[in-house]
Subunit: 578 residues, 2 copies
């Protein structure tokens, strides 16, 4: 498809040259889902012109039955593009590097190009499987000091059906956009005074965060994880010791007080956690020691890269570190995997065909890229694989994907739109304990270095929330819904009874609200639907007199039943995480 | 007492001049609990010499029956102190400022001095009511560019008994020192790589933090407080708007990424919280809105001011802000007070004679120091007082203690050593909502500015933990103990039964441990006592065979009873927060 998309970029340039002969084409590559081409137009065009250009492309398409390339000298090329300073610049560069210069022709259009086309574009793609999408400004070569060009984007797929499916998916993705839903559901906000990439979570958003954290915490505490607490800054000395000072470089936020001490905001928690380990003597019997902490780390992402909660500067990590003996690696990895399994099962995401696991091991061709004892690597890689087998994980062994400090298991989940997200992870680390001179006293009295395991269940809470909002389109499972039930009195006369029910539900820990606005039932139901409230309890004369409620879920009416039965029904649903 | 202590400093200098005639006295003030004097000694002295000096002081004391001052000219003074460059420097300064220069004489010793002495020192203090305490180095005038002098500290009280009581209290305070106990109980640690004033909390320390936070949270959620979540940094714009930029000045940690944007670490949370309020339209019906958050703020304290957890750079605030209408102030202050009452009652600290409340109002002589509508101030001050009366708080109205932005209630608690600590607070704020242009739509459709209430229950969690550790001497109430029960098998043969009990206790949420070391029962009991574990369950043959445990508390043996009865006993104790 890449060759077709690249060829379509040529076709776009051909159409432009016919319609606007004075235009100077610059470069036009294939991209994900389509292609673009950057032009210098003599007079600006706008989105309305796209239809005409697209029609011209389709006219020309039938004549593009071949793509012919030929090598030319730099001077020949310069002569051909003598009026186009952009192409001349490219030619000069190619000549300077001594690379060969090729011109490609299809139909009546010739372009300076490296090649990689569809031989017969007219047969390769149906005319209804591509469209021109939109116009944007783009600096020549991405440098804001250069001329601003006009970029025309196109979408292209193998068939009309695929193109339509793409549109449908796009529309669905827009409807589920977590930035839009986050605002509608009042989950988080941004403030110009605080800054971009620094979300502020409302009570409802905080509740969702806490429910996720509590859920993970309640699972992993059974596996011996204990919460610790660290500050958000450190002297740079900590990262000079860990080796992160060079690695993180300009992603680090530097912190300065009135003294000369150089502080930084932590971009990760592991070095701090090693210092808690190091605060006491540890014996082989004390291991494994398992620290967990949900805490914000800070990374200075470029403003242009920030995107709602999906990419932020204040990143809440659901972090954890195990310090163990080499003979405990296997059991610990198994335990972490069981935590991941239980958590994602409660979200309905740990299902066959909906996730897979990357067993990331060394690149066998470049073993010297990896630090640490090679036999420990061998054992650990084999153990990760045997855990994956034992737990019947759908895993793929991926060579070269290990970190330089150890192999890992990365868990990839598919969301409701089929988009893959790497969320959970368990990574071995043979290096950091050594850098911090961590020790334990072994049975024979000798000093040994523990192995460290980094693990994340949800990963970044912000990104996880973005994924969850889009996956569920805001209609969270009952246990994760900020408001689980809303009571809707038909008229003001039913408010008193509504309050009674509210108290009864709250007493049982059910997150309930009473909609006591003087609005019609229809409007109240619509509000609840917009806010994706899982259940509404409608109450009128009949319900009040009979001490019942009419309960309605997202999938329709459940029935009319007593308050007690309703509470039992809801508690059961909550307990089953449905 | 200050005059006596100051006179004793003269007496110390007199003794030094007799024993070491070449010594140059510099300055010697009265301080809390005693006095000091800084000298330039020709040859160094050490702590062993203090006894001799103290004896000499007591010898001279009987001759000091008067203290006579006389004003002299600068030249006279210069002549008198011609060999002492320190005194000469002081004389030059006095002369330059045109201040009068006085010399004071008692016995045979004359010193340059401003006055403020005991007329008859020999009668004013018994010879056994003061001692020399210790020696320290001190730069002349506190400037490290100057000569290092020798400072001799003395302690002085009205009577021998008071001096002894001071020693006893000091010893008790040392035994309870939270830095010492924090290490022994493994609650927190510091790392040189991370930096001073930045504590790292171990699992046990984190558990105590969480128990405190959960306790407050469970109380205040009944009063409508909702958790929110904010990042730890902000653009400086936020504090320029709030007015804190100038006020906090060099206590602020500045944060720099790769861009030009100037960030700072938050030294408080209120400005961030206003931005969550401001993210939506609010109606009079939505108020009060109550945000709560336990989060770290950062202030750049001087390294010399840092002290264990009592003074840190990363300060976890148990923070909360209410946005309400003026007519809701009274009810909200009452609610906050009820939260404070319930929390401190669970710690046994909300008891008559053990706390008092400062009703901090304007200085009636300087009303123009305070910002905001004066009639709103009048009403609010009256309302705070009526809440204090209604809830029978032991309050004192303190004029001039209000913040410039509003009146407040400060709660002062006495710890086990009788030291007073300001912990909880509720402060009205008439200014910040206005600075951030916060609004709500009133019943008549007009836009109004809400009132803000800042409230803290525990205050800084670090300082609160320091206070609690010292107050309880590490022997926390059962509900706050990291380990509530430890099972002590008499021999290895009882380990199996011990595990059974452990599972049963944990299932009920009791924080239990099994001491399965192969140590004697005596040693196991001692370990538990050192770690201040509230209850131990001793199990031997008899207990195993009869399925019982012998339960022992900090105050002695409780008895031998079944596991079920023991669980019931413990759960009841935990529920009653005893």
């Amino acid at each position: 498809m890449e060759h077709i998309r690249h060829s379509l970029a040529h076709l776009l340039a051909a159409a432009i040259k016919e319609l606007y002969p004075e235009t100077k084409p610059t470069i036009g590559p294939a991209i994900e889902n389509g292609f673009y081409y950057d032009f210098e137009f003599p007079t600006p065009i706008n989105e309305k012109d796209l239809e005409k250009i697209e029609r011209k492309m389709k006219d020309i398409l039938s004549t593009w039955t071949s793509f012919e390339g030929r090598e030319v000298s730099a001077d020949e090329a310069r002569e051909y593009f003598k009026d186009n300073q952009y192409k001349l610049e490219l030619i000069d560069e190619l000549a300077e590097k001594g690379e060969k210069i090729t011109l490609y022709t299809s139909g009546e259009f010739t372009d300076l190009c490296r090649g990689g086309h569809s031989d017969n574009l007219s047969k390769a793609i149906p005319a209804d499987a591509f469209v021109l999408d939109r116009i944007a400004g783009a600096y020549w070569r991405g440098d804001e000091k250069n001329t601003m060009l006009t970029r025309i984007y196109g979408l292209a797929f193998s068939t009309k059906e695929e193109l339509e499916a793409y549109f449908t998916q796009q529309k669905e993705a827009e409807a589920r956009d977590h930035r839009k839903l986050g605002k509608e559901l009042d989950l988080f906000t941004f403030s110009d005074l605080v800054g971009s990439g620094l979300p502020l979570f409302t009570p409802k958003g905080t509740l969702i965060r806490d429910l996720i954290v509590d859920k993970i915490s309640s699972i992993q505490s059974r596996f011996g994880f204990q919460k610790v607490t660290i500050p958000h800054i450190t002297k740079k000395d900590l990262y000079e010791t860990s080796g992160h000072w060079d690695k993180f470089g300009d992603e680090l936020f530097k912190v300065k007080g009135k003294s000369d001490t150089e502080f930084v905001m932590k971009p990760m928690n592991c070095p701090h956690h090693t210092q808690i380990y190091a605060s006491r003597m540890r014996s082989y019997k004390d291991l494994p020691i398992r620290f967990a902490e949900t805490t914000m780390v800070y990374r200075d992402e470029q403003p242009g890269e920030l995107l709602g909660l999906a990419r932020v500067r204040s990143i809440t990590q659901d972090d954890g570190h195990v310090f163990c003996r080499p003979d405990q690696i296997s059991q610990e990895i198994e335990n972490i995997t069981l935590v991941i399994k239980e958590f994602y099962t409660s979200l309905g995401m740990f299902e066959e065909g909906k996730f897979w696991v990357s067993l990331s091991v060394r690149d066998s061709e470049n073993l010297d890229k990896y630090l640490g004892d090679s036999s420990l690597w061998d054992t650990a890689e084999a153990e990760l694989e045997s855990v994956a087998k034992k737990l019947s994980l759908p895993y793929k062994r991926i060579e070269g994907e290990a970190a330089f400090y150890g192999p890992k298991l990365d868990f990839m989940f598919e969301d409701a739109l089929g988009r893959e997200r790497q969320l959970a992870t368990a990574q071995l680390d043979f290096i950091m304990p050594d850098r911090f001179s961590l020790e334990y006293t072994d049975q024979d009295g000798s000093k040994k270095t523990p192995v460290m395991i980094h693990r994340a269940i949800a990963g970044s809470l912000e990104r996880f929330m973005a994924v969850m909002i889009e996956h569920f389109a805001g209609a969270f499972p009952l246990w994760l819904s900020p408001v689980q039930v809303r009571i809707l009195p038909i008229a003001d006369a039913h408010h008193e009874y509504g309050k009674e029910i509210l108290v009864a539900l709250k007493e049982k820990g059910i997150r309930a609200e009473l909609d006591d606005r003087s609005e019609s039932l229809g409007k109240k139901i619509r509000s609840s639907k917009e806010e994706k409230v899982p259940y509404v309890l409608v109450i009128g004369d009949k319900e009040r007199d009979e001490k019942t409620v009419t309960i309605e879920g997202r999938e329709g009416k459940v029935g009319t039943q007593s308050i007690e039965d309703t509470i039992t029904f809801l508690l059961e649903k909550i307990a089953h995480k449905s």
